[in-house]
């Protein structure tokens, strides 16, 4: 389809042989849209994001990035594709030896030949977009967790990427910061026309801002659709995840022998 920016086609992957993280995952991420990839901890959603960024090679299947099949072994291709994407890491991954300003300027200095005066203007504009122009001179050790996430967001959009990947953008944030980040993701996406992928387990915030959502469980896609479609779903796995029920198709207990046997108690 012409408006698919990323096409994940029947991808399987595991870090170790015999322990698959993702099994036969297929998904389409439309150009200019915000798509959420949701699922519980350890379900493989961050791994999917990293496969899209070419950090690992899929064991089976393929990932198509704007019409080009991603080959994680082709360094030249990876570096070319990565210039077109920005990624927000779960905890920001800011460079602690650089100031706020220098963090946002980093991709511009590394990837462009712009004069320093222009870099300064761009950095201040990006920081202004996330509301932190006044913090440009601070060191990373001096800013809060919520501010870090916004600085990392400014850095991720410094080069106006076509694709922005968000890895758990809401994790560990207070409600105000969470709302600020969610709002920024949607606004930046609409303003720049980029394609956004959000990996998160935060149903409420994701549903507020995403156009489409995929739900992953045990390395498989179990549902996908608009937030309204998923809310109306009768699938037990979807219901359990959206309503946050402790037990259901996703078991509360890690597989184990019956507790009576383990404790040596007879019934």
């Amino acid at each position: 389809m012409a408006d698919d920016f990323i096409h994940v086609d029947d991808v399987s992957f595991g870090y170790e042989a015999g322990r698959p993280i993702l099994s036969e995952v297929s998904a389409r991420f439309q150009r200019g849209k915000v798509t959420a990839i949701m699922g519980g901890s350890g379900c493989g959603k961050t791994t999917l994001l990293r496969l899209i960024a070419g950090a690992y090679a899929a064991d089976r299947g393929r990932i198509v990035f704007d019409g080009e099949v991603v080959d994680a072994r082709d360094k030249a291709q990876l570096f070319r594709l990565r210039r077109r994407l920005g990624m927000l890491f779960q905890f920001g991954a800011l460079f602690t030896d650089l100031s706020v300003f220098d963090n946002v300027a980093f991709p511009l200095r590394e990837q462009s030949n712009l004069p320093e005066s222009m870099i300064r203007d761009i950095v201040l504009m990006k920081l202004n977009a996330v509301g932190l122009r006044g913090a440009a001179g601070l060191r990373i050790a001096e800013v809060s967790g919520g501010m870090m996430r916004r600085i990392a967001l400014a850095r991720a959009i410094a080069l106006d990427p076509e694709l922005i990947l968000y890895d758990e953008p809401f994790a560990g944030l207070d409600p105000i910061s969470m709302g600020v980040i969610a709002n920024l993701i949607r606004r930046l996406n609409d303003a720049t026309g980029a394609t956004s992928l959000i990996v998160s387990h935060d149903v409420h915030e994701c549903f507020l801002i995403c156009d489409q959502a995929y739900l992953i469980s045990n390395g498989r896609i179990v549902a996908h659709g608009t937030p309204d479609e998923l809310r109306a779903s009768a699938e037990p796995e979807v219901r359990q995840f959206i309503n946050g029920e402790p037990d259901g198709p996703v078991r509360f207990h890690y597989p184990a022998a019956p507790i009576e046997q383990e404790l040596g108690v007879r019934r």
């Binding site: 950090a55 570096f79 779960q90 991954a93 460079f95 980093f106």
Partner: protein
């Protein structure tokens, strides 16, 4: 409870052979990995020379900031050499040769070696911990995803700075050490000042002694910085992993320096004048 079946004769020997084999394969694999890492680091070096301001920042961090400990150690080693040298030489009525003894000991041996050992403890550990924590904080992964090669941006400038800093630090160590020997020998024990400096000037050869000392410390610079960077870059991205990597940096660097020192000394000074 069932007892395990009896082991066939010779099983212990087979186990031993298997363990030795596994150990050898692991170590060979490690060596190969080191070699690949070195090649990639060398290929990234032109990038560091192209952006020398990054090297200058690192020269300050690992060179200038190590100067106090290097100078202080050099001074005390010079004091001790002065005292011990005087004690030994005066038994043969050759106390005036103290200047020569102190200078030769320092520029040929103690300057490069002790500086390298201190460098491994002061700068090597900080390099390993810094890079290990950058890895744990996903800073290196973030760099890669920004299409920036961490080897060029992070490792290469540090490597160049380490190799430049080591001979300079060793020179400072030796100079301060000779001054320490002067303080003890001339000012405290009363050796003739002209003899002290004159014998040193006469007996120390620029190429054979000073030059070889500089070559030694450059080799140590390569070894110590490489070990520190490798350990940091390959560390497990956890607090325990970084702690283990930092310890390994000191242990491996120190052993490498002592072993290399023996090999280099044998090569440089084995032939008589």
């Amino acid at each position: 409870m069932s007892t395990p079946p009896p082991r066939p004769a010779g099983a212990a020997l087979l186990d031993l052979v298997a363990r030795v084999g596994a150990w050898s394969i692991d170590n060979l694999r490690g060596l190969g990995h080191n070699a690949f890492f070195m090649v990639e680091l060398l290929r990234a070096l032109p990038a560091a020379f192209g952006r020398f301001h990054l090297v200058v920042v690192q020269l300050y961090a690992i060179g200038v900031r190590s100067m106090v400990i290097i100078a202080a150690s050099g001074l005390t080693v010079g004091f001790v050499l002065g005292l011990q040298g005087y004690y030994t030489l005066s038994r043969f009525g050759a106390a005036e040769s103290l200047g020569l003894l102190v200078a030769l000991s320092l520029v040929r041996e103690l300057g490069p070696v002790v500086t390298a050992l201190l460098f491994a403890g002061r700068a090597g550990t900080s390099l390993t911990a810094e890079i290990g924590l950058m890895k744990a904080g996903e800073q290196l992964a973030a760099m890669e995803l920004m299409a920036v090669d961490p080897r060029r941006r992070v490792l290469a400038p540090r490597f160049v700075a380490g190799v430049i800093a080591m001979p300079l630090l060793a020179a400072i160590f030796s100079a301060v050490g000779i001054f320490g020997g002067y303080v003890v020998g001339v000012l405290m024990l009363g050796i003739d000042v002209g003899q002290f400096w004159g014998q040193m000037q006469e007996g120390v050869d620029v190429w054979r002694d000073v030059g070889n000392g500089i070559v030694k410390s450059m080799v140590f610079g390569v070894a110590c910085t490489f070990v520190a960077l490798y350990q940091g870059y390959e560390s497990q991205a956890t607090p325990e992993g970084v702690a283990r990597a930092t310890t390994r940096t000191v242990v491996i660097s120190s052993l490498a320096v002592l072993l290399l020192d023996f090999v280099l000394t044998a090569m440089m000074f084995s032939t008589p004048r």
